[in-house]
């Protein structure tokens, strides 16, 4: 497990706070965008094997809509905003005001793809800029890329950097819910933040936590 051995519960708590702040801002943006109340769950920080990571997002064959972006700058990493197909449908219906729209059958609607990509862009942008303010690190998002495909195929792409060092990933996972969770129009999304192995030290240092605490 090499680089993961250095982490204590203090470190995981710091990462939880990182997820909390980032996703908190993203939830606010989402709420403004949809004009709806959005709830955020307490972030989970877990050390998981690659297979377990797929299970967190519903299993490797589960089909999702995902916006992926690379974080560049002081603390590089990968970020995913993952939505189930139904959730993506709900979002897009609200965004483009077309109740008949659906992501079930390709080829997908161009406007809808663009709207979804923009949604991911706004949310991850606000996540990242709050993170950048909080840590005083320079973090730049790459242009986000959208893919509607199997979880395994999508997430494994974000694990490539990490996989050169470890067989485990530290995942900062935050789920968003909208207020009326019982209705079928409920909106749920997951943020996965996967810092590159070398970035942990940078993040901890920026927040004043010694690596070997």
């Amino acid at each position: 497990m090499s680089f993961l051995d250095k982490f204590s519960t203090v470190h995981l708590d710091v990462l939880k706070e990182v997820g909390n702040i980032g996703a908190g801002h993203a939830a606010t943006s989402l709420s403004t965008l949809l004009n709806k109340k959005i709830d955020m769950r307490v972030p989970k920080v877990s050390v998981v094997s690659f297979d377990e990571m797929m299970d967190m997002a519903g299993g490797p064959e589960n089909i999702v809509a995902s916006v992926f972006l690379r974080i560049e700058g002081d603390a590089p990493g990968s970020m995913f905003f993952v939505l189930s197909i139904e959730q993506a449908n709900t979002f897009i219906k609200q965004m483009i005001n077309d109740v008949h729209f659906s992501f079930e059958n390709p080829p997908y609607h161009e406007l809808a793809m663009s709207a979804l990509q923009e949604l991911g862009n706004i949310l991850s942008g606000s996540y990242l800029s709050s993170l950048s303010d909080f840590t005083n690190l320079d973090l730049y998002p790459s242009v986000p890329a959208l893919s509607i495909d199997m979880v395994g195929a999508i997430i494994s792409f974000g694990l490539i950097e990490l996989s050169q060092v470890s067989d485990y990933a530290i995942v900062i996972d935050t789920a968003l819910d909208d207020d009326d969770t019982h209705s079928s129009e409920s909106v749920k999304g997951h943020f996965f933040l996967l810092p590159d192995p070398d970035s942990f030290e940078t993040i901890f240092k920026a927040l004043g936590v010694a690596e070997d605490e």
């Binding site: 497990m1 090499s2 680089f3 690659f50 297979d51 797929m54 299993g59 490797p60 064959e61 089909i63 992926f68 690379r70 390709p106 790459s142 242009v143 890329a145 893919s147 509607i148 495909d149 199997m150 979880v151 395994g152 195929a153 999508i154 494994s156 792409f157 694990l159 490539i160 950097e161 996989s163 050169q164 060092v165 470890s166 067989d167 192995p197």
Partner: protein, 165 residues
């Protein structure tokens, strides 16, 4: 003898071997490559879910040999020979190596799919294993399943349906 068909699942950066009547499957191949090596007469097939092209990319720690194209293919073949496969009759089918996201980034890691495919092919050629069929590249995730009896590789994608190789 247990005649119920079992589907052996291979996780990410993992490998396994099956014999008839069982099937072997790996799910959600993106930039990763699924390598099937089989001996048709012996009805024996191995599958490796390769994640990275070259074990020299490993930076530290214990190495997982199933993760890298160069080590995984070698290990899979030697395990199969231990189980009775004959090296001259081994054949291979591969799938995966997609480019899931289009980036303009200069980072070489973004081309990981094609690099995985090249590495697997190079390794198969070195071991003199015939590559019978391939379904690589593109931008779709794949789930593959291999039947050592029929030697058909079933490939499922989200956008392009199902086909057999």
């Amino acid at each position: 003898m247990n005649d119920t068909v079992q589907i052996v699942k291979v996780g990410i950066a993992d490998m396994n071997i099956v014999t008839t009547p069982n099937l072997i499957r790996t799910s959600g191949l993106g930039s990763c490559v699924g390598v099937v090596v089989y001996d048709q007469a012996k009805e024996l097939a191995g599958l490796a879910h390769v994640m990275l092209p070259d074990s020299s990319l490993a930076k530290s720690g214990i190495m997982n040999i199933a993760k890298y194209a160069d080590t995984a293919v070698k290990e899979l073949v030697s395990r199969m020979i231990e189980l009775g496969a004959r090296s001259y009759s081994l054949k291979a089918k591969i799938a995966g190596g997609a480019q899931m996201f289009q980036f303009t980034s200069s980072n070489d890691m973004m081309r990981i799919g094609p690099r995985n495919v090249e590495a697997v092919k190079r390794e198969l050629a070195m071991l003199k294993i015939t590559l019978v069929a391939e379904d690589v590249g593109g931008s779709s995730g794949r789930t593959i399943e291999f039947d050592p009896k029929t030697c058909l590789l079933n490939i499922r994608t989200v956008n392009k349906g199902i086909r057999d190789l």
